[in-house]
């Protein structure tokens, strides 16, 4: 039997991935360029008995998916820059209260209302530090629909494994571009289900007492164990505490459970890196132009390679460092003013070898744009 093959938008590929992963609760609010995700789910979720709700605003959508996730449902919301800004306080709540959920941010030109229908990758740092306070976060992205499908599933898997919100960072080009998607068979991509507690009813359940491996078994809110969930610093029962030892332990746990598993969370794709003396680093839609340039130049005998990042946070420092070890030049291709470039500079051996190839005018960066910058870097003139 041939697999189901579709020709669709990135936003639709994201929906297919989310449903494959077991999404059954979505709350959202209309915003360009992510609206198609809400539209599709309003059609698809009721068919499988899942819940779709259009809330009164972006904040409410984020809060609603947290509430739903606590009751044991895989939950998601989708938005774009301005809406993503509004959701930040509640994203911090999900971090603090350790509630699994997936937040899709389809990037558009910013800041503020910016360019709603134009592409940008300006939210990379907002996914990292958008909510207040020290914390760690997971941010994933992809450059084509097949990868987007798989990385959406991975977003749910990581979110359930580590009890944390995962940001799925797309951009307008990926979201609205149409290309082929082959839906994997059931079981082809493994799904992670929530770790439920084995504590029996009537026995003291500690919702915030990590096991030795750092994981916290959950009990469906509204089920057999009554406990407290709060955004305040809390003890192992979930009750507020101002004890410095408890505060310290919680802060370390929240950060370590992510920063201590960078390896497991790192998803990168490597193209022609073995002998590359010019390494391009890119992600999302701009990685398509980067790959095009690399293959074009390879055909002419130039030794270009590409490291495509699918995990942006926690930053895959080791993978970046290793890929850039032999490089004469490292060119970071992104549609912002160097948000990932700076991270690359922090981790490579010689930060002076790192250059930025970008566009910040709402126009999709082309292979020619990258080539022109590369020629300047190499002293060849435009």
């Amino acid at each position: 039997m041939s697999k189901k093959t579709l020709f669709l938008q990135g936003n639709e590929a994201c929906v297919e991935g989310a449903l494959y992963a077991g999404l059954d609760f979505f709350a959202g609010y209309p915003i360009t360029p992510s609206t198609e995700i809400a539209e599709m789910l309003s059609m698809r979720l009721p068919k499988k008995g899942g819940k779709f709700i259009q809330m009164e605003d972006e904040i409410a959508s984020m809060c609603a998916i947290i509430g739903a996730s606590l009751t044991g449902h895989k939950s998601m919301t989708a938005t774009s820059g301005p809406g993503f800004s509004l959701k930040q306080e509640a994203i911090g709540y999900a971090v603090m209260a350790e509630v699994p959920c997936v937040v899709v941010d389809v990037q558009r030109g910013g800041p503020s209302t910016g360019m709603p229908t134009k592409v940008s990758q300006g939210d990379v740092m907002q996914t990292r530090w958008g909510t207040h306070g020290d914390h760690a976060i997971i941010t994933l992205t992809a450059s084509n629909h097949q990868d987007l499908f798989a990385i959406t599933v991975e977003a749910f898997n990581l979110s359930e494994t580590y009890r944390t919100p995962v940001i799925l960072l797309l951009d307008e080009v990926i979201a609205h571009m149409r290309e082929k998607l082959v839906i994997p068979e059931k079981g082809e991509i493994p799904l992670v289900e929530r770790l439920w507690t084995s504590v029996k009813e009537g026995t003291d359940y500690h919702p915030y007492l990590p096991r030795e491996d750092g994981r916290l078994p959950m009990s469906d809110f509204g089920g057999v164990h009554r406990y407290n969930v709060t955004g305040l610093v809390h003890d192992m029962w979930g009750f507020p505490s101002e004890d410095p030892r408890i505060a310290y332990g919680l802060m370390r746990h929240l950060v370590d459970k992510i920063e201590g598993h960078v390896k497991e969370m790192t998803h990168v794709k490597e193209y022609y890196l073995d002998d590359a003396d010019v390494v391009l680093i890119s992600y999302g839609s701009s990685a398509r132009s980067a790959l095009h340039l690399v293959e074009n130049r390879r055909a002419r005998g130039e030794r270009l390679g590409l490291l495509e990042l699918q995990t942006l946070w926690p930053f895959p420092a080791e993978a970046v460092r290793k890929s850039c070890e032999r490089a004469e030049y490292v060119i970071v291709v992104e549609m912002n003013m160097g948000q990932v470039t700076e991270e690359v500079r922090k981790v490579v051996h010689d930060h002076e070898t790192v250059f930025l190839a970008n566009r910040i005018d709402g126009t999709f960066i082309s292979p020619t744009d990258i080539r022109n910058i590369l020629r300047v870097v190499q002293g060849k003139g435009v």
Binding site: F25, A27, M43, P46, K47, G49, K51, I53, M55, E56, D57, I59, A60, S61, C63, A64, I65, I66, G67, A68, S69, L70, T71, G72, H73, S75, E89, A90, Y93, F221, G222, G223, V224, R226, Y227, N228, V229, T230, G231, L232, F239, P240
Partner: protein, 266 residues
């Protein structure tokens, strides 16, 4: 079941000031739930931020202490995901009507089966006595040292206008009717709003020279009257209390179930 069984006694004494009305509300809320015979496991209590929101920590239900103003948004997620649960959302006046005003009117419009209890003490107590949308014109607050120039919302009219299918008002003086009203609100199928006028002797009372808790309770007795009563007719300035709206209207989760049926047929 004894009333104490609903309390998380290890957190007593509570953090509310001496004379605060919130304890009276908590007491009557427990008594209402006890007389309805609802199991603790079937109740989810969702709160926001402020003095009022701490009530969730003291009660032995499934308790979700959330963000300032957002309790109803979280509660909506819980309710839609698990419609069989009873959802009770106690909120302060600033929490419910200022920062949470948008969620409040839309929860009412949606007529989702949630009980919203507004513990209205006319002040932001947790932050030390700033004016709220229910303080009223001419009142004093730490952020209105020359007098508040805002009119107060009429919570009952706001809830009614937004589409709540059960709307009531009572006070911390009228404990007997408070319990009955809360019972009816919890059993009502749809969005129910109970505004409870409460006293904050520490901030609102002191700043506005309203006397101690007893004086403030007396004021709640004297400044209110039952809906359509003789007293109200003689003195139109009195604030009415009682049940203003009690209607049977389509409830959101039930309507959503119909959507699921429609989608699955098609």
């Amino acid at each position: 079941m004894s009333v104490r069984e609903y309390l998380r006694e290890r957190f007593m004494p509570h953090l509310w000031c001496p004379g605060c009305g919130h304890g009276i509300i908590m007491n009557n809320l427990i008594r209402a739930i006890e007389s309805l015979g609802i199991k603790k496991n079937d109740i989810v209590m969702v709160t926001g931020i402020g003095c009022s929101s701490r009530i969730s920590g003291y009660l032995d239900f499934h308790t979700l202490h959330t963000l300032h103003g957002r309790a109803l948004a979280f509660a909506t997620g819980v309710k839609l995901a698990r419609p069989e649960l009873k959802i009770i959302v106690p909120m302060g006046d600033g929490d419910a009507i200022a920062i949470g005003g948008n969620h409040f009117i839309h929860a009412a419009r949606r007529n989702i089966d949630i009980t919203a209890i507004i513990m209205n003490n006319r002040v932001y107590g947790m932050t030390g006595g700033q004016f709220s949308p229910l303080s009223g014109y001419g009142t004093l607050a730490t952020t209105a040292p020359y007098g508040n120039i805002y009119e107060a919302f009429d919570t009952v009219e706001l809830a009614r206008g937004a589409g709540a299918s059960f709307v009531a008002r009572t006070t911390t003086y009228h404990v007997r009717s408070m319990k009955e009203i809360i019972e009816k609100a919890i059993m009502h199928k749809g969005f129910s709003v109970v505004e409870i006028l409460s006293q904050c002797p520490t901030y609102f009372g002191r700043k506005n020279k309203r006397g101690d808790a007893v004086e403030m309770l007396k004021y709640l007795k004297e400044s209110t009257a039952p809906i359509g009563s003789e007293r109200k007719r003689k003195n139109p300035a009195l604030i009415e209390r009682g049940i203003f709206v009690e209607e049977d209207r389509p409830e959101y989760c039930a309507e959503y179930e119909k959507i699921v049926e429609k989608a699955q047929k098609g």
